[in-house]
Symmetry: D2
Subunit: 290 residues, 4 copies
């Protein structure tokens, strides 16, 4: 049986770009990490090493820098769209582009002074195939904790189940969420801010019987709050906090002292969709069907 080339893509990953916009003495800072992936008519380089249809990844990096200067990086979704369109529209062999961006937050300390702020990283992933564009916005590394209002019981018990039921536990997670826009246009800044706020508010307000329930409430809150969004995908590690047994030391432990565990951890992944949403197309991936 013959061996054939399957789906493939290539690009420059993790170009670190910092932009300083100087409006007199007041500076604005943008700090991003840009990854580009391109797909198209790339069989030659795979099969024979003929690179005539390959735009070097070094050029992709240069383009990321040049576009930041030419067009700014006001909203990462817009910046990503511009880059993705450029690669597909200007390079005949490239038929699809996906630009993934992380934006690190900085808190202003002065006119030109900033402190890196750690409450999550804003993300965007933009895909373009020459005709359509898809935009997914998101957040990652957003660590949240509720110290009560979380229960877990009523679950299946089999031969291997030893877990005690609990009516009061700590619920902690590091949120990774991505939400799909119905269209590739939008008011990206407010959309992001309100989607993120909806996630956090739902985490805070949900009396949780399972992390799945909290996940669903978070996704639903995003869709309820922003009509331009049609799908939310969430990945929530369950960062277990175990109540320490202090009885051997003659001490009670009424929900006060916990051991924060590293591994293993629960991992809850789920999707919340607007019924009748447009199909995702290439919103979630470029080159491969799964």
């Amino acid at each position: 049986m013959a061996i054939v080339l399957g789906p493939n893509q290539y690009g420059k990953a993790e170009t670190r770009l910092v932009r300083v916009r100087r409006d007199g003495d007041l500076h604005e800072l943008t700090d991003i990490n840009v990854s580009v992936a391109l797909a198209g008519d790339l069989a030659d380089t795979h099969l024979t090493g003929d690179n005539a249809k390959v735009l070097p990844t070094d050029t992709q990096k240069n383009t990321a820098y040049a576009f930041a200067r030419e067009f700014g990086v006001d909203q990462i979704e817009e910046y990503g769209l511009r880059l993705a369109r450029h690669f597909v529209d200007s390079v005949p062999s490239i038929q699809g582009a996906r630009v993934s961006i992380e934006e690190y937050g900085w808190r202003r300390l002065g006119p030109h002074s900033f402190a890196r702020s750690g409450e999550g990283v804003r993300t965007a992933a933009v895909t373009y195939d020459g005709a359509s564009a898809w935009v997914v916005s998101g957040v990652t590394e957003l660590v949240l904790l509720n110290s009560t209002d979380s229960e877990f019981h009523g679950f299946i018990r089999d031969r291997y189940t030893t877990l005690a039921e609990t009516g009061d536990r700590i619920l902690a997670t590091a949120v990774t969420a991505q939400w799909r826009h119905a269209e590739a246009t939008g008011d990206w800044g407010p959309s992001y801010a309100e989607a993120r706020d909806a996630l956090v508010r739902a985490f805070v307000r949900t009396y949780s019987l399972s992390l799945q329930q909290t996940l669903h409430a978070m996704g639903r809150a995003v869709l309820n709050g922003r009509p331009e969004l049609v799908e939310v995908r969430l990945t929530l590690p369950n960062r277990h906090h175990f109540l320490v047994d202090l009885e051997p030391f003659g001490l009670e432990n009424p929900g006060e002292i916990y051991m924060a565990a590293d591994r293993p951890y629960g991992l809850i992944e789920g999707t919340v969709l607007r019924d009748g949403a447009p199909p995702p197309g290439m919103a979630w991936s470029l080159g491969r069907s799964s």
Copy 2:
């Protein structure tokens, strides 16, 4: 428009398990990291927090430990199949299970002494849906370098291209490869060893005009060597090594002194398929279509 629950899964991630098999004074060591993901009739826990159909992730961890004792962990593919089948076959609400395993290598130093060996981590991902099972084996964190026999030229030049063509560069990468088995049975140990050897041999022997060409040769070598394998997916970061400009110091640098860069890096992803291979089914993912 209504908001609905989309694809979802949950499980215990990164259960660290070490098994010592004691055959008299001679010990065998197995060191693995097990992650389980389950999908099925899980709407209730998402929508109302009713956990009656949820097998706790803690139970999944217990099962991983108990099965290692009851059945051993001789080959991670077999161990993963047993776990995946157990969850689906014994829990009515669970209709799909995916077990992902990393196996860390140890080199024997004595009858019961070992040194952690760093040349890559063996991986397996097993998926079962109650009827069919799919097995993907692989390797990750396998760092390879050719100090010559790599060129890169003839590529597209556009307004943003400054890269010089080169007829001799260092080619270095950290291989992540996964290969799909046609069937869920196999001689897992030799299959892994030979697939891994084929990858490495192809990397070493390919005179490379692009990392894509090397990637394709690596995937092809795996399929050529092992008829039971039908698809190889490779992710190869291009770990750039830049020749240092020593001219300012009155020194030539004839391919001798390089700066090893961290970021950005090229990222080449590709698939090599056996023509007419059976469809992948759920081999590459459990809960989501992309």
Copy 3:
């Protein structure tokens, strides 16, 4: 020549402890990482494996948890002092104890909801030798950036110097600072808050001709602001941001687009002392003279 035992210490590192103080519906969260090191009459365990003078590291962990319940963890300096004194005063073979603590910040979102805040980690290191106690407070992983008001010129030029002088660069660093208290008593909370503020303020306000100058200003500000502190040690990596050359693309780059580099980085370490300060004793280390 005989071979002899030199300085040694042992202990439990990185005990992760989360405390929830429940004052009705309003919860307070404390999240710390505790490391203990003990020194003393430990030759037997080194030379013969006789553990009669060894307090197990497991016991140290238990003690950390129990003390958090018995005495709270209001200020990490106080909690560390209590632990250090306990080990030395209650275990005859232990003559010195050092307790190092990291405290992770959380921002309140609600009565019992919190978001992990990333602007630095508070630290404390407490040492006790049975007679005296030393307290060092500090901060780490505090990432600061000035987008202007930083120059670097007038430096030595030798055969290997190619660096251009600059009158305007980005100055960015991840602050690790530790400050020594003159005595082992104090108003730890305000002392920490003001020392940290002084560091940040000095970073923001210093027009910098070198990172060393900024370092010195930061240390000096801490000592000027807090009379109970006598020494500040700072470790400041210089996180280089390189202006990207956009000329090949027909673009100027007037201090706007930078590449943020990972490695290598400058590393500036310095100490600022109050003249006539009491000697450091064991403030900076327990078991070894260097």
Copy 4:
């Protein structure tokens, strides 16, 4: 009270350098990470930002690359000595230099092909003050495990002790060891190889009653085997492996299935000295007394 400048140093950290020595078709690969720290007459840059006595860290990086070309990097101790002497001897304001190097291992796969080998990283730290030089060699990230021949009992039991005594446990650690040479000359290659072998052999052969005992045996073996070495400092995390309780599942667990824990971990640090060894001078640090 006046505020004064205390000990300080600065330098370029983590310059990543790869050297390819081409002897016809057979290539030799050296892969290192170089960090330089310089001390001396540096008050001006701290106090006023006058950099007239500062050799830029960028120049230090350039020098590391240029020296690798001019003199090779055959043995990292020798390369470090050459760099350290250069900075102090050629720059009047610099009175002390410390060069720390990590060398990553690569296993040969072909004439010019290599795989990154993970069994530890070779290290060297060289200090020079204009008159004397000190050399410390070492290894780090060397992960070793004995699956038996390790006991732990007879320890102190106090109110907070719950640990069970054990006559058979897994002993696992990630070795960081540094050994001091009596003089700054040596046959660095064989010295390293044999010191490392002695460490590993002692770990394997020691029937251990405590990790301290193993540590001491490891240090002693290095000194016994190499007369040019006078001091060994070891840092050994105790990577706990807990026997999993399988009784709830009706299974015995006769030393077979373990959970490998991340945190907390024991941390054992100790020194083994040759009696009458020359004093360490600046072998262990450049700028600070502790």
